[in-house]
């Protein structure tokens, strides 16, 4: 049993080390890719970011609505329903916005990236690039990684904004909270530090989600089963890593 634990732990460390080296190479190639292949990066921002906007907005609207409902029903007991805006705003900007956006991003864009790269590997497209003396890491992996990293904070901003509007819709338009109180309370309670916390989290989660997608796709077993497994692992590992890092960043900031 101890041997199994040792083997598992050893494998995990090996995999983690290889992934860190992979990240280092992505970062190393980033400046040259941004200069020479910016059009590929732009396309990947569109692919990972713009194409995820609908799911992000719809989710943001309903998550905001739920927050508005929960906040109102609990705060009403203390005659504090005017502070619904603060409750929804803090939750969305500091926690729920970055976390749920990252989870949705992993489900929509992360799986798409992992399966796309995995299929390119399975159909020898990456090998073909290598044989044409084109480094697939620079041509395929880095633009997709950067596309995800750039998209995540933007998507988080969209999610949070639509979430606040969703909470407004429920709390103000449906439940009768005063519109002035909703926005004024939120504005006076919120500091820039709270916004920075959300931005830091969205950037870190963007790096995690994009790295996992690109890493899993790039290292997938080149079979149908291997690509499927890589796609599943992308979502599972990203979700766990995002929640762990969310706790760590929150603990660090508080």
């Amino acid at each position: 049993m101890f041997r199994d634990i040792y083997v598992t732990f050893h494998g995990f460390l090996q995999n983690f080390g290889a992934m860190c080296l992979f990240l280092a190479r992505l970062v190393q190639y980033t400046p040259s890719v941004l200069i020479k292949r910016y059009s590929l990066v732009t396309y990947q921002v569109y692919n990972a970011g713009a194409l995820s906007i609908v799911i992000i907005m719809v989710s943001g609207l309903f998550v905001g609505g739920v927050l508005g409902l929960q906040a109102y029903s609990n705060l009403e007991r203390f005659n504090a329903e005017d502070t619904t805006g603060i409750f929804a705003g803090f939750a969305l900007i500091k926690e729920i916005g970055p976390v749920i956006t990252a989870l949705l991003f992993a489900g929509r864009a992360g799986t798409s990236l992992a399966s796309e790269i995995g299929l390119m590997k399975a159909t020898d497209q990456l090998s073909a690039m290598e044989m044409m003396a084109v480094d697939p890491l620079r041509y395929v992996a880095v633009p997709r990684f950067l596309g995800g990293v750039i998209s995540m904070p933007l998507l988080t901003a969209v999610f949070t904004t639509v979430g606040l509007l969703g909470a407004h819709l429920v709390a103000v338009e449906l439940l009768g909270v005063d519109v002035g109180a909703y926005w004024q309370q939120l504005q006076s309670a919120l500091d820039m530090e709270d916004v920075y916390e959300g931005i830091i989290k969205s950037v870190v989660f963007g790096i995690i989600a994009s790295l996992m997608a690109v890493w899993e796709g790039y290292n997938s077993v080149p079979t149908a089963e291997g690509v499927g497994r890589a796609t599943t692992r992308t979502v599972v590992i990203t979700a766990i890593a995002v929640l762990v890092f969310d706790f760590m960043i929150t603990a660090w900031i508080l």
Partner: protein
């Protein structure tokens, strides 16, 4: 460019400054290669002559594609050397290797076309990546290459709109886009109808002569390869089982080569994969039987 200059210098020293390159364009010397516990090659030696069409043949699973991957350094041997124009490719840096690979054209078994690009863009891809030619000139080059494989009219199609044979021909056009010195074909005839196969066979010979290049064709399709190959190697059991012209191989005394060349169902290469005793396994008397 500095790396390439160094590579050319090393190449220059091999030609004694005469500018004439050695006749052996590729040498595989004493190569051992294993995957896990399975030995693929044991002390493999072979040479590829410049300007010829050389066929690498052998039963399935003998490592023909692995040999191509060793020649292009997609894999590294456990022992031994692979020399291209006398240079051990294991000693090349990443930049030097990529310079060398610009001299290779590879036709993959399934074509390996980039699925998000049109036929035109697939052929233009290596040219755009490695040159600064204007678009008008790239267009001329691409259309010339597509014309050579008979698919100039398919330039605007996407890979998903092509048949297997057409995809293979587009991949061939892409492989010759940079005017390579060495063209490697990995099972170019697999899964093709007789007409497409005939077209590819014809192209292999035509391109080799017209472009004055060296071609290596990995295949187990004995008859079609024999039609174009100047020289052939038959690989089996991790080593070269026989070599010679197609005619010499047909008249060989080796039982294994005879079985392979004449497509006999049984012989040195058994019909059955290694298995425990049939009766014992059926009766379940073996402790490890399923």
């Amino acid at each position: 460019m500095l790396c390439y200059a160094r590579f050319r210098d090393r190449l220059g020293s091999l030609t004694n400054g005469s500018g004439k390159l050695p006749d052996k364009i590729i040498e595989v010397r004493d190569v051992d290669f294993s995957r896990g516990n399975r030995t693929i090659f044991r002390n493999l030696n072979l040479t590829i002559e410049r300007g010829q069409v050389t066929a690498i043949m052998g039963p399935s699973g003998t490592g023909k594609t692995t040999l191509l991957q060793l020649i292009t350094r997609q894999l590294r041997p456990d022992r031994g050397q692979v020399l291209v124009d006398g240079v051990d490719i294991a000693t090349l840096s990443q930049a030097q290797l990529y310079q060398l690979r610009q001299r290779f054209g590879v036709l993959f078994q399934n074509g390996a076309l980039l699925t998000d690009m049109s036929v035109f863009e697939n052929v233009a891809f290596p040219i755009r990546e490695h040159t600064r030619l204007p678009d008008s000139l790239i267009r001329h080059v691409v259309l010339t290459k597509l014309h050579a494989v008979g698919l100039r009219g398919a330039a605007d199609l996407m890979p998903s709109q092509l048949s297997g044979g057409m995809a293979r021909r587009v991949a061939l056009a892409r492989a010759i886009a940079m005017d390579p010195d060495i063209l490697l074909y990995d099972e170019p005839f697999v899964g093709l109808d007789p007409i497409s196969m005939g077209v590819i066979v014809k192209l292999v010979g035509q391109l080799n002569d017209a472009l004055d290049i060296t071609s290596i064709v990995v295949s187990h399709d004995v008859h079609d390869v024999a039609a174009v190959a100047d020289f052939s190697y038959v690989i089996a059991d991790g080593d070269v089982a026989a070599s010679g012209t197609p005619e010499e191989l047909r008249n060989t005394s080796s039982e294994l080569v005879k079985q392979f060349m004449h497509g006999l169902p049984d012989g040195p290469v058994g019909f059955h994969y290694d298995a425990p005793d049939y009766a014992e396994q059926l009766l379940g008397t073996r402790s490890d039987s399923r």
